[in-house]
Symmetry: D2
Amino acid sequence: MRRVHSTEVRNAVLQKLSQRGVRLEDIAEIVYEMQAPYNPSLQMEVCLESVRAVLEKRELQHAILVGIELDMLAEQRLLSEPLQTIVASDEGLFGCDETLALGSVLGYGSIGVTTFGHLDKHKIGIIKRLDTKIGNGVHTFLDDLVASIAASASSRIAHKHRDWEEEIGPPFELIAGDTEKPTISRVFEETESSVVPLSAEENAS
Amino acid sequence: MRRVHSTEVRNAVLQKLSQRGVRLEDIAEIVYEMQAPYNPSLQMEVCLESVRAVLEKRELQHAILVGIELDMLAEQRLLSEPLQTIVASDEGLFGCDETLALGSVLGYGSIGVTTFGHLDKHKIGIIKRLDTKIGNGVHTFLDDLVASIAASASSRIAHKHRDWEEEIGPPFELIAGDTEKPTISRVFEETESSVVPLSAEENAS
Amino acid sequence: MRRVHSTEVRNAVLQKLSQRGVRLEDIAEIVYEMQAPYNPSLQMEVCLESVRAVLEKRELQHAILVGIELDMLAEQRLLSEPLQTIVASDEGLFGCDETLALGSVLGYGSIGVTTFGHLDKHKIGIIKRLDTKIGNGVHTFLDDLVASIAASASSRIAHKHRDWEEEIGPPFELIAGDTEKPTISRVFEETESSVVPLSAEENAS
Amino acid sequence: MRRVHSTEVRNAVLQKLSQRGVRLEDIAEIVYEMQAPYNPSLQMEVCLESVRAVLEKRELQHAILVGIELDMLAEQRLLSEPLQTIVASDEGLFGCDETLALGSVLGYGSIGVTTFGHLDKHKIGIIKRLDTKIGNGVHTFLDDLVASIAASASSRIAHKHRDWEEEIGPPFELIAGDTEKPTISRVFEETESSVVPLSAEENAS
């Protein structure tokens, strides 16, 4: 049996998200809303970059493919009963959508999990739009997956921000205006540019 | 080496919670706030009973003993560095408190996890009071443990409520005022004193 | 949209397992093999009863329906690519099967998780037979789900066994042959028909 | 209150492990035993490098500090009862050690979790030596933490190995002996040298 190359998996993920009406910019907006209070100089492009980075992980890519597949099969009424009704109605006590989504967020530490719980409860932005059942669209899995992507990307920024603070040293150095110290954008550039697309580092760690 | 009887463990848990200023009624209030929107006839005593029930679990009892021990050792400055400073300051990226608390909530399904995430972010009631650092009190672990107890007890009620709805049958029967159908308080009594097949106990816990 | 009654869900689970060649007795055999070393007087019927009990849980029931559905769709080549190839070939780094199965075992404490890890690696009995790819049968999700059921049922017995030991008191009482003390089968009967404070049901599930 | 720099945390982790008799080489040996069957050309130095890499993660560092602290306090009989007896005797149903250790392994995907379960059951090498209770040494938490480090490092190698296989292309190219293709050691060097010590990438992802 042929083996699926990771490039094929990644491309399928990006295509499916787009096909289901989710733009990476929509997810980045949620990340911004989550992290801006702790990080006033945060820029939207940093959020978008973080969304792209977490989407390189195999665990999350597979979860997205499985979840969207089940949503689409339910839309076409191709699941067997009683699963068809449970998924199509986004049954309150059905938890496989959250279990699948939680699996990938666990790798981003406790901030990831609590942010996921928050987003799952207070569906904001694109998550809200997906959760609102209109017409025949089924997004039972997708809204949780988007919450998972956003929570992971948020947690990743929180950790990077701390690393940046440590690199520039204690606050008084900021006041002193030491221009030789790295700026946050420089730190991000450095760690980003050294990470090759779909690198082992991104996937395994 | 002597073996600790489960009665001794349970009594220690109740005593420690009380000693640290947490009354079971405080936790029941959070449960009420979480579940009342989905269950308008919910009574406070049902919430309190649910808190007591989740506190019977070994996994949670052990987590409470470990967490409170670490809080108290940090208060007395008996931990070694750098752990002493990390715990005493409730370091933002320290996640062992949430990991320990999450361990016991995972058994209550996905509602438990999302409620935990919500409570961890929007600290309400007693959780808020514990989180507010006053004087030398350290509650780094305890606030997450209380969130875990409340989230577990909430999820347990959500599952029991569904079981009750199924027992009384579809809504029109309620309108018909079938007085032979079980009331919710009767269902709770019955499931407490005996486990029927597909009981709430089995589902929720 | 109609609401699915829990009886319908449970019946579908039992029917699907049977249809896919998994008898509850096969799972009970794995449970026996896991627990007999710690509990020499363990009887097969206790293992079977424990398998039945964990199968009453909503979280696990839903996971079984989702997993078997994906296996069967892959057999019929009805999944879209690249998911079709990934599931049909039980790709080594595909982890959604384990994530889904792990979700329900987490509720049974740490013994459940380590037993699941062990079974997932040393596939024994029916798990081995499912994992061996013969003909067109796809059991990518089912082998992990069976490991999850067996691990949960094993952990549940370990907790119940401890409760029983505590009820009969310290070992010397056994030597004294106190025939008034409860036997293990009596304890199981009692805890099934009624939940006593600190009962096995509460602890193990 | 002063803030603990991540360098201080990392140094404390390495010092504590050494102080408790765990050499990174001991852990690398377990990793080798786990991964060699899937990767015949695996070298011990790659395993050691992987152990070092997972030890850069904040989540795991914090878990190690907490776990060793509790072990040492139990050795000195400084925990309050009944926790003192539970930890000192490594009580069979005590699960906080596994919960804490599992928290950090979850970030490495499903291979990490099943390897952890396997190691927790079939304690090999240094884990076996720690688990064997000799004299007054308490290693209730440490043996699970070492299993977690080894499982994480193993899973990381499995993912990297796949990336390497994809980079060199399909098997027939290997036969063709295309010397321009990257070798596995070259792939590791490249991804390693681009990761700065304690980088954000390592910590957050």
